[in-house]
């Protein structure tokens, strides 16, 4: 039974890692990376390393996605400001959701 769980969780991790690489849009990649983090936590637990699993859960479930999505938002904002810079002083404002 142990071997079945180890194999299944590692295959899940390998699939999630491959999918994360082939999702080229960073915001959508963040969702896949969060699933990769959860999968790694399971794999660590079935390899009898709950300490590492906890560490991975803390980092992967909320912290890393939050940082990536905030970076994506900032990069988009900078690009928008640059594009609108020629058209007048009203650029860069606009309505945005937070």
């Amino acid at each position: 039974m142990d071997d079945v769980l180890v194999t299944a969780s590692l295959l899940f991790v390998a699939a999630a890692a491959t999918a994360a690489v082939f999702n080229r849009d960073p915001a959508r990649q963040a969702v896949v990376l969060s699933l990769l983090g959860l999968g790694l936590a399971v794999a660590f637990t079935v390899l009898q390393a709950p300490d590492v699993g906890l560490s991975q859960l803390g980092v992967g479930s909320a912290l890393t996605p939050l940082m990536i999505l905030l970076t994506v938002r900032k990069v988009r904002k900078v690009r928008r400001t640059e594009k609108g810079a020629g058209s007048g002083p009203g650029s860069g404002g606009g309505k945005r959701r937070r």
């Binding site: 142990d2 071997d3 180890v6 194999t7 590692l10 295959l11 991790v13 390998a14 890692a17 491959t18 994360a20 690489v21 082939f22 080229r24 849009d25 960073p26 990649q29 963040a30 990376l33 990769l36 790694l40 794999a43 660590f44 390899l47 009898q48 390393a49 709950p50 300490d51 590492v52 560490s55 991975q56 803390g58 980092v59 912290l63 890393t64 940082m67 990536i68 970076t71 994506v72 900032k74 990069v75 900078v78 690009r79 640059e82």
Partner: protein, 114 residues
Amino acid sequence: MSVLPYAIAGWIFLAGLYGLATSRDLVHAVGCLSVAQSSTYVLLLAVGYRRGGTAPVFSDVKPGVRVVDPVVQALALTDVVVGATVTALLLALVVQTAKRHGTVDPDELFELRG
């Protein structure tokens, strides 16, 4: 079964490298780097695993039972958290690049340089 976990660690590492090298967006590249990094944790824990062993934490089992290797776990656990802060540093560099050059596409950045 005896090399499958090592092979999976190798696969994750190579997949991460491939994504890093072909990335068209620096934020995506940072994500791929963290994928490649996670392969090291899988490899370390696979090396330390012992069949039929349990976690080397004696809060709810008696000392003397068969346990897996705690040394590799200690190595992996600190690196997971420290790795996240290094990811943050790289993302901060990406923000700075976007501000300076108005793009985060490595190819366009290369052309800007001349």
